[in-house]
Each structure stands twice: as C-alpha cells, then as structure tokens.
Amino acid sequence: MMVIRPICQNDLKSLYRLAEKTGIGFTSLVADEAVLQKKIAGAVRSFAKETITTPNNEDYLMVLEDTTTGDVVGTCGILSTVGLDEPFYSYHLGTITHASRELGVHNAVPTLILNNDFTGCSEICTLFLEEDYRHSKNGQFLSKARFMFMAQFPERFTEKVFAEMRGVSDENGVSPLWESLGRHFFSIDFKEADELTSQGNKQFIAELMPNNPVYVNLLPKDARDVLGQVHQNTIPARRLLEQEGFRYENYVDIFDGGPSLEARVQDIRAVRDSRLCLANIRATNDAEQPKGIGEGNYYLVSNAKVEAFRCILVQRSTPPGSAMTLTQDEADNLCITNKEPVRIVELSPYSR
C-alpha cells in the first residue's frame, strides 16, 4: 500500500536518492547531505510540536512510502511561513494606466513590481514523485494529502496558502524573462542566481534588483509571453491546483516569471469538502469484507494526528456515510484503531 507520512531521521538516504533524481531547476531539493539532514531535522521538530497557536517557520515535509517494499518514492511539503528568515521576493504584475483624453489615447501598461508580499504566508512546496511511480493517481495523492493535513490543523497555517510553479525555460535551462531582465542586473547567470536563492541567500536580490517598477511593454515579446506561464512539464500540476481552487493572482517568480497560485485554506476544495468521521474497521478474518473496495471513487483518508499523521488513498463504490469502513490493513497503515476519527474527502472534485 502507498502511505504518506511525516519524514523521519531514517529517511536521509532515501531523500538523498530522490534529490539526485530531481535534476536542474528543482531548487528546493538539492542533493547535499548536510542540507537535507538539516531539512529533515526541521521537519521532525515541526511535527513534534504538540500544539501551535500561530504558524512560525515550521516545515512539514512528508514522504510517500511503498509499504510493500519499504521504499520512499516521493515527497511533498508545506512551509508554515516563508520569508521570516530571509526575505521572500516576487514580482506583482500590476497595471499603470496612461490616458490622454485630448489625444484619445488610453494605454493600460502592465508593470512588474518587486515585493515581499508573501512574507509570513504558508507555502506548499517540494513536490517530487519518482518516475516509476507516476501512475495510479500517485501524483494527485501526493499533492493533495497536504490539504488533509491543513484541513485537520488549520491553526498551523496562515489563512492564505500559495504555491510557486516552475516558469518557462528551454531545454538548456534558458529563461526568456531572465535573459531580458534579470541578466542586466545580476551579471551572473540564471543557474547561479537560482542556486544562491535556493540556498536561502537572498540578500543579493535586494542589492541588485531594480527597485522601480519595470514596464512590461518594453520587454521583448518572448519575455512578455512567459509571464504567469508554467513550464510545459508543470501544466498538469497547475491544472490540478486550479481544480482545487488555487488561483493565479498576478504574482510571478522574479527570475523565470512562473506564476504563484494562491487560495484561502478554507476555500480549497479538498479542505472544504473533507469531513471527519469514525473508522469502522473490519477485521481481516471477518467473513464479511466491506463491499466495493477497490472499485468506484477514490478517497483520501487521513488520521487526525500530528506527529503520527498518515494519509492513504482508497477506492469505494458506495460513498462513505457517517462512518468510514476500513480494512485492518488500511487501519494499520493509518495508525488507528476502531472508532478513532478519520478525515475523508473525494480525491478529485468531480467524483462527489
């Protein structure tokens, strides 16, 4: 069975293996043992916090484990707040209107305005799934399990949550926006700038980026065209978040112009529609197995625990009512006993 759980100290090797596979441009997971060790320690510390009144720098990093092999094959995370240690930069795509009634000219000029508007805001991040496991809804499962955790523990996150999507670049990693904007101010190349940023070193952005709004209409067409656009490989991920209620609100990455998608936590479909119910466990040796298992709609099922958080994906042909019937195996993977509360939601918005 596939189970999502908090990362633990023992996962260092697995995480390193995953990091090696991510490739260039995936800056939140770098194959550096010291960095990863620190990241794991931060996540373990975060999940260990029993109660939290306001979010403050927690990093909830989870992994997807294949319990049949014991392999860690994917990872996903939520940062409870960004930008409190190092400034978090983005561009806001705004509008300046220039109009002359006398000449009958009216121009709405788009502008890029450097800001730190996401400071203190929760971010979903670090989504990676091994190539061999990109099937059977694993991708959706990995991405949306986070919403179950957020639905259960809203006090650990800010009202608004956002996700940065990878922007457009060609097969050589060349970003049209960087070439016509960032390059002029940084005198270093995109890769180097991107790496510095991922290492948490962002002071240089304040030092080198122009303070003044940049007129988008003065940028070359290929640079204008990528603002708010995701990399081709990221189109499915974007669609998935949009279906959950995430919206592009004109914030883009300062380097590659990739969009940030945002939502109020309570407006996310998987959060809003999820509900708590009691687990009704049928023992394995029970003659009467629950019906309709392995067919019908997919449901995310999670427990209501922090440190022992678990989330699994199940299939049911009849919608669960006030109780959720689970097999013993499912219950074991959820770390629950009979009559403990579980949270459930339809995996996708169209299956209710």
Partner: protein, 337 residues
C-alpha cells in the same frame, strides 16, 4: 551677404516653406501655418513688451540672403520654458546596484523623466536652406541670438539650453522612439513630434512613463541612439560646442537627442562681444570676419562681414554699413567670428 532680423508677418509664406523642408524632429518649428503665425505674433508681442524678468516670451529671427532679399533660414529663443506646462526631459542617471558578497558592482544607467529645464531659456529650431548651409551663414544665424541675449540679459535666464535633433531616418523612423515612446503614445514618431509642436504638452504628463527606464533593458539600436545628434545637425552642434555649450546628461524624451546647456555669461560670443562705434573703411577690409549688430528690439539686426577693430571702434566696409543701415559713428555691437 546675410542679415538676421526679427521675423514679421510678411515672412509667413517663406517660413512655411522652410518648415516643410526641415522635416521631422524639429518639434519647435512645425509646418503648420497657424502655429507659425502664432509664433510670429508671439515674437512681435515679446519685442514690444517691456520685460523686467523673463516669462513666456519668445523671439523668432529670420536669415535673409540680401543679394536676393530672400528668407533662407530662421531660429528662435524661448525666454523661459515650462511656464504653463512643465518642460520634460530625460536625465540619464546611474543607479548603483552592488553586492559586496558576490563582488558585483553594477552601475546601471537609467532615464528619469524630469522637469529640470523648466524655468530656463532655450534656443530653438535653427533651420536653414540647404543651399545656404555654409559656415558663415550658420554661425551668423546661431550666434545672432547670443548677441541679442547679450544686449537684453534681463529678458533671459542665466542658464541657456538647446535641444539637438536626435537620430531618425528620412522616413521619420527613430529607433529610440520605436523602443520606448511608441509603447506609451500608441502613435508613430512623426505624429508625436508634430503634436508636441502644435499642442499643449499635457499629454506628455498623461502618457509618458512615470518610472525610470533602465537603459540596458532597451534594444541595442535604441541604446545606441541615446544622446546622438542627427547627422543633419552636426554642423550646428559644432558651432554650439565651440561656443561653450556642454552636454550634461539630458536627452529629448522623444528621440533621445542630446540637450546642451551653458551659463549664459560664459558663452564665448556673450563674453567677447563689445559695444562701440562704427567706423568707415574707404577700401575693402583685410580684417577678420565679425558679427556686427545694431538696432533695438524690433529693429535689431545682425550681419557677418570682414571688419577691422580699432581703438575708436570697429571699421566696416561701406556695403556693410549700408546693409545694417548705420552710418559712421553709429553705436554697434560686435564680436569676432
């Protein structure tokens, strides 16, 4: 020979013809009969006004080929720009962005829209017939204004500037405009240039970018045009530079042509000019070329002629005296050309 004098209404057809020849990029001298008429009227009114300090007066002068009694050039001075609506320029300033840690120290030139020349006197629109673009005629036309300023300093500010025509091709295409202004004006350079000449300038405030433009983000052709003089104006530029005008990092907002400025008193012609008596030479002069002026406001006139400085005054040939309509002993102003 040549003579410069204030323009009069009778000069209108000739001026219109000149304006048509002048072409694009001479915003202050549009080929629009009504506007030209206004300009003449304003000049006449200014000359007739008792001025204590400069305001919105303007002065228009014409260059006459006296052999044919034909108008072959013109030029002007605005006593003060930016009186009604602000006068806009781009100031090129360097923005420093440095990261000690990355050992990067960038000095990035940026264009800042400013009013820095508001409240300053401006020399405008030196236009001259192709056939008469010789050194003497051009110097006479250009410097006649400085002699006028020297005579009536109370009518002008202590600083003086002139905008030089920027690069554009004969079809009116300007790489700078294309890369910048066009995006904000939604019209071609020709039209903006024309409007800027005939309309009030509100629309500049309304349409121009309010934030600085970082030069390296512009296309190369546009960057290359910044501060570059149109080739047709290179001769008149040389005359101004020799006078003591300097480029201080300001360019035109439309075509990025450079603005030259100077303290009025430090300009060569103004510092060197002197007043004295006209003397008569009985024969042809062997002396160097001089600019010689006489008359008062409406009757002010200047010519260029060989002349011989003497202790008692400046000795002129008879023809020169006749051209200026002065006689021996008349009070004149002169400077060596």
């Amino acid at each position: 020979m040549y003579l410069v004098r204030p323009a009069d209404f009778a000069d209108l057809p000739a001026l219109e013809r000149l304006a048509q020849q002048a072409g694009i990029g001479i915003t202050n001298f549009p080929a629009n009969r009504e506007r030209l008429n206004d300009k003449i009227a304003s000049s006449r009114r200014s000359l007739q006004t008792d001025v204590i300090q400069p305001s919105d007066e303007s002065y228009l002068f014409v260059l006459i080929d006296t052999s044919k009694d034909e108008i072959v050039g013109c030029c002007g001075i605005d006593a003060m720009v930016g009186v009604d609506t602000p006068f806009y320029s781009y100031r090129i300033d360097e923005v420093v962005h440095a990261s000690p840690q990355l050992q990067i120290h960038n000095r990035i030139p940026a264009l800042f829209l400013c009013h820095d020349y508001s409240g300053t006197s401006r020399m405008i629109a030196l236009v001259i017939d192709k056939a008469h673009q010789n050194h003497t005629a051009m110097s006479l036309l250009s410097k006649a204004r400085l002699l006028f300023i020297a005579r009536y300093p109370e009518r002008f500010t202590t600083r003086l500037f002139v905008e030089l025509r920027g690069e554009s091709d004969k079809h009116g295409y300007s790489a700078f405009w294309d890369a910048l202004g066009k995006h904000f004006f939604s019209m071609d350079f020709k039209k903006a240039d024309y409007l800027s000449g005939v309309s009030n300038k509100h629309f500049i405030a309304e349409l121009m970018p309010r934030y600085p433009i970082y030069v390296p983000t512009l296309p190369e052709a546009a960057q290359d045009a910044i501060g570059v003089v149109h080739e047709d104006s290179s001769q008149s530029t040389d005359i101004l530079l020799a006078e003591g005008f300097e480029f201080r990092g300001y360019v035109d907002i439309f075509d990025a042509g450079p603005t030259l400025e100077a303290r009025t008193e430090s300009l060569h012609t103004i510092a060197q000019q002197t007043m004295g008596k006209a003397l008569t030479l009985t024969e042809n002069s062997q002396g160097p070329m001089h600019l010689i002026s006489t008359g008062h406001l409406e009757t002010f006139r200047v010519t260029a002629a060989p002349a011989e400085p003497q202790v008692a005054g400046l000795a002129l040939e008879k023809t020169t005296l006749e051209r200026l309509a002065v006689s021996s002993g008349s009070r004149i102003q002169w400077v060596a050309l």
